[in-house]
Symmetry: C2
């Protein structure tokens, strides 16, 4: 059973669907969002509402703009379930010559990629609306992926999932697509419309606007700073001008810094591990 | 001294500049390419031609489309030198309120990011010329960054450099900019023009076309497979139709695969290390 509904309506949809579920059937979420009242991911809502085991809950995500898939353009996605066998069954069901599905067992990372990219897409829409070009957007996507990865890992995700199709891939497609609702909402705000005016102009929900506050709440609980998402919230709340959104320019320090917040010792350890994996160092 | 010349002319430029160099002056390369005859990176050409120590050779790279910087749009870059002090001096020289420079000491990774992104930009241009949309391009960028990282690490680069502004950042800006020469060259080829016709139409060099063969040579020496770059070469040589370029769809196997070529054991080790770094596991 594939579920594609707005995130805030998933719980009631599940209640309506429950009587019709066959025993052992797998529920596959295509929904990218967080439940506002509980800050639960969609797979968590599914487990909570229906009391299903993890082998009956799956997620499909990736750079999958519907209109382009309908045109049979080459597309790739990820099917994710804690059970690798179930993920493979779903991937086989979701495969055509022009649509390739990969698999993983990292439901948390796969799902959070789809949630978090909407927040960065809002930022991209905002600077696009202001009139900034590819340099600004590339810097925001690069730093945005780092923010997404740090947040997702704090929730138990595998960092490699965020570097893949459900993270970076979906982020790029969403940020580049003029059809993305989050991108469009950001662009209207960047052009000077207020949040209320933007919501009125748009007929459909922009999931990202709904997710900003719950994500920042969870980030604060874990002691993680997300400068881009925080600036998006400030712009949405009218506390920052869209043209000032540029987290990669913000610094309290005159001495040029390394790009990552990790210390050099930690970077060195990652590098040495990578070298061992590649067999270039014993 | 800042050097911005086509990669194949760097050596002769250095010879012309040498008599005028002050002792102790630092040479900063802004050039993104590989010398065809030697497969040397630009910093290697500098060391080879002038016999300079590593503390006098530096590189500045990142998502830095010149026209947008001239418009004073928010931009970030990386200054790289084996000497952190020198990198910081250069970063300070390359900083304005709208242009922020970060630093690192990974010259190899910083430089290879700028070389390798041109090859992926060719692929993006090709599928763009065919008429494919954001799903296809996002999958190629995602898989392309993985190829770039694996190649760069085999040459001694730090993988985190490729995940930053000089890798992912520059890749995204180049792939999105209609002004990029590599993107434009790929688009003409994707539209059905031959390599010779494309070279005639373009007045300027597309560095990526020059780099394809040397990079694939080096990759073969290290036993690394680069499916996207190999497909680009096949298209350039007329051995593959542009519409068939879709490395993320190629598979010899009917069973859905994980995204990365690494085994699960290796992924698990990276994840556990990351968790230790984050303090979530002892």
């Amino acid at each position: 059973v594939f579920l594609a509904v707005p995130s805030q309506q998933l719980r009631e949809t599940l209640a309506a669907v429950e009587p019709h579920l066959e025993p052992g059937s797998v529920l596959v979420s295509l929904v990218k969002g967080v439940e506002r009242t509980t800050t639960m991911r969609m797979s968590e809502v599914m487990a909570d509402a229906l009391d299903l085991g993890p082998e009956r809950i799956a997620v499909v995500s990736g750079p999958n703009i519907a209109l382009e898939i309908a045109k049979e353009q080459p597309t790739a996605a990820v099917a994710s379930c804690e059970s690798l066998e179930v993920a493979q069954e779903i991937a086989i069901a979701c495969s055509t010559p022009y649509f390739r599905s990969y698999v993983n067992t990292d439901v948390v990372g796969t799902e959070l990629g789809g949630v978090l990219k909407n927040l960065i897409a809002l930022a991209i829409g905002i600077v696009d609306g202001v009139g900034y070009g590819e340099n600004t957007k590339a810097a925001i996507i690069t730093r945005g992926l780092a923010e997404m990865t740090e947040f997702a890992v704090s929730q138990g995700a595998d960092p490699t999932t965020l570097a893949g199709l459900a993270g970076l891939g979906d982020l790029i497609a969403t940020c580049q697509s003029p059809l993305s609702r989050n991108n469009t909402a950001g662009r209207l705000i960047g052009q000077g419309f207020s949040l209320d005016e933007t919501k009125q102009q748009m007929q459909q929900t922009a999931e990202g606007i709904t997710s900003v506050s719950p994500v920042l709440e969870l980030a604060r609980e874990r002691g993680i700073t997300m400068p881009i998402v925080e600036q998006v919230q400030m712009v949405l709340q009218g506390r920052m001008l869209p043209k000032d959104l540029g987290p990669h320019l913000a610094t309290e320090d005159d001495v040029p810094q390394p790009e990552l917040s990790m210390t050099n010792g930690e970077l060195g350890r990652i590098r040495r591990l990578f070298e061992r994996l590649r067999g270039t160092r014993s």
